[in-house]
């Protein structure tokens, strides 16, 4: 049976290749999207734990975390709480760097733990009040900048005082500016995007989060990456969009396979009639058709997995969004892509296979 399936697919190699290619595109899309989703989760993890924090306090019900606006004054109220060891405000300037629009500029309190935890790999910390900033090592490598160079932020030029490494993608791909200067650039005096918190020893993040949200109405405390993805409407939209695209890929792929297999059956009606005449049961003939559909789909899915992994990385580089999201391929992501590919083959092969079982041998033979 396998030999016949292989032979039939090879005999119509052009059609096999085109059908498999269609499925490959669908599977590649799914794999790339799943890799992006996983990458988003990992990015969100970095976003939650900025500066080595355990919690991030954001404005509640915002479209995405970077759109959050909080009064700087609540930092003091947070620090007064017993479960909080330290709290420091951050103002995020998105698309503030002209040289790399995907990089984020962090306005941070020079005395806060966020700035303090940055490990300098070159240069020095900015002098207080000077038009100086720190840049992450990834950004420095990307823009070929060294301490002493200048960098434009929102039309203003700053001197690079030093280069740091934090281990968090967002931070290492961005720059850190004194909070007051960032507020001035954004024309948002006394406002911040979020406040990052380190908890007192022995305090559980989930318990602390409830207490803080209760004490500070209108805030949302994020302590894990999944929560970070859920809190923003954009994250929800991305998840829903991915689901829709997966379903569309499944439907389009199944229709493609159905169409191909149905055409194949019409062309090979006589051949199938011969199989029936020589004693193949309808179930066996149907399984031949179904097997061909699944084989094409597995071929397409395998190619799709490869294209998805390679294409996802290339797309991120081409769009220049590597600071926000880096596709992360997991075995489960690849497995889901393969499952969708096989499902396409099974769904696409069912109708043609059923049609075969409805034909009498004589009717099938009359097509020869």
């Amino acid at each position: 049976m396998l030999a016949i399936i292989t032979t039939n697919l090879l005999r119509r190699s052009t059609r096999t290749v085109f059908t498999a290619s269609g499925i490959a595109v669908g599977v590649a899309t799914i794999v790339a999207l799943l890799a992006f989703t996983q990458g988003l989760k990992e990015t969100a993890a970095g976003f939650v734990h900025l500066g080595g924090s355990e919690l991030g306090i954001f404005q509640a019900n915002v479209s995405e975390p970077t759109a959050s606006v909080l009064p700087e004054s609540i930092v003091g109220r947070l620090q007064a709480r017993p479960e909080v060891a330290r709290a420091t405000p951050l103002l995020l300037l998105v698309e503030g760097l002209k040289a790399d629009s995907s990089a984020i500029v962090f306005g941070a309190d020079p005395a806060g733990f966020f700035t303090h935890n940055l490990v300098l790999t070159g240069g020095r910390r900015p002098a207080g009040g000077a038009r100086e900033l720190l840049i992450g090592d990834r950004l420095a490598a990307q823009l070929h900048l060294l301490p002493g160079a200048t960098l434009a932020v929102e039309e203003h030029r700053y001197r690079v005082a030093g280069v740091y490494h934090s281990g968090v993608l967002f931070e290492d791909s961005g720059a850190v500016l004194e909070l007051a200067q960032a507020q001035q650039l954004a024309s948002r005096p006394a406002e911040v995007t979020d406040i990052v918190v380190q908890l007192a020893p022995g305090v559980r993040a989930s318990r602390a989060a409830g207490g803080i949200e209760h004490a500070l109405p209108g805030t949302q405390v994020i302590s894990d990456p999944q929560q970070a993805l859920r809190v923003g409407a954009n994250g929800i939209l991305i998840s829903k969009a991915i689901l829709v695209i997966v379903v569309i890929a499944l439907i389009v792929g199944a229709i493609s396979v159905t169409n191909t297999m149905a055409m194949s059956i019409m062309e090979r009606q006589g051949e199938l009639g011969v199989l029936s005449t020589v004693g193949w049961s309808p179930a066996r003939v149907a399984s031949l058709i179904l097997g061909e559909g699944v084989a094409v789909s597995v071929l397409g899915a395998a190619a799709g997995l490869l294209f998805g992994v390679i294409g996802g990385s290339l797309l991120v580089r081409a769009l220049g969004v590597s600071a926000y999201v880096s596709p992360s391929v997991t075995a489960w992501g690849l497995g889901r892509g393969l499952l969708v590919g096989v499902a396409i083959g099974v769904l696409g092969g069912i109708y043609p296979a059923w049609r075969v079982t409805r034909m009498t041998p004589l009717k099938a033979l009359s097509a020869t």
Binding site: M1, A3, I4, T7, N8, L10, R11, G270, E271, V274, L275, S276, T277, V278, G279, W280, S281, P282, R284, T360, P361, L362, K363, L365, T368
Partner: protein, 240 residues
């Protein structure tokens, strides 16, 4: 001509008995067969002749269970193939078909084509291969076993088709104008092969043909006229 190994070791008698009882079949408004009744004894060779459109091929298809009669019934050794819970299995166990065109699967070698019915029977790969080669040897083209149908002559292809028909050791061999697409010399050889196999294996053979010489080889000739069997004196058999 010698029978392939194991071809009829377990069969007694080798030929099937065919009973056609008042069978009618129409296609749309065209009546192909009208209350045809015919008995064929075990091991008998019957030639069915008649003009084009007389219902010969339809009768053969109904005997082989390829189509359902509108009325009446066809029994092979007492089994109604079409009404069998597993008609494909019944066909496989009882009937072998040879058609006017060889109808070989173009992508498969001669050997693989002969193996196709054996796949349907669930036979193991090694046993299939052995039996297919044995059958190709029996029909005289063992040396062409790995050739594709496109690499075979018409006569060779038809021999492969005969070997395929014999793969499941049928008790009844149905041949529908098996030499219709061949030249006279090749036709003669293929017909020789069919009748030799029938003699060696003891099968019942029903051959549809225009060729009067086929009737001369057969035990009996049945002539169809407008879907009815013509009596030897020219009268038409009617349903009793």
């Amino acid at each position: 001509m010698s029978a392939p190994a194991g071809a009829h070791a377990t069969r007694e008698p080798a030929g099937a008995q065919v009973a056609i009882e008042a069978v009618s079949k129409g296609f749309g408004r065209v009546s192909a067969l009208r209350e045809v009744s015919l008995q064929i004894g075990p091991g008998e060779a019957v030639a069915i002749t008649g003009r084009s459109g007389s219902g010969k091929s339809t009768l053969l298809a109904l005997i082989g269970g390829l189509e359902q009669p509108d009325s009446g019934r066809v029994l092979i050794d007492g089994r109604a193939v079409w009404k069998d819970p597993h008609p494909a299995r019944a066909r496989r166990e009882l009937v072998g078909f040879v058609f006017q065109r060889h109808l070989l699967l173009a992508a498969l070698s001669a050997r693989a084509n002969v193996e196709v019915p054996l796949i349907g029977a669930g036979m193991h790969h090694g046993a299939r291969r052995t039996r297919a080669l044995s059958l190709l040897e029996a029909v005289g083209i063992a040396d062409r076993a790995e050739h594709l149908p496109s690499e075979l002559s018409g006569g060779e292809s038809q021999r492969v088709a005969v070997a395929r028909a014999l793969a499941n050791e049928p008790r009844l061999l149905l041949a529908d104008e098996p030499t219709g697409a061949l030249d006279s010399t090749t036709s003669e050889r293929v017909m020789d092969l069919l009748f030799e196999l029938r003699r060696d294996l003891g099968m019942t053979l029903v051959v549809v043909s225009y060729d009067p010489s086929v009737g001369a080889r057969a035990d009996r000739t049945v002539t169809l006229v407008d879907g009815r069997i013509e009596a030897p004196d020219g009268a038409l058999f009617q349903r009793r």
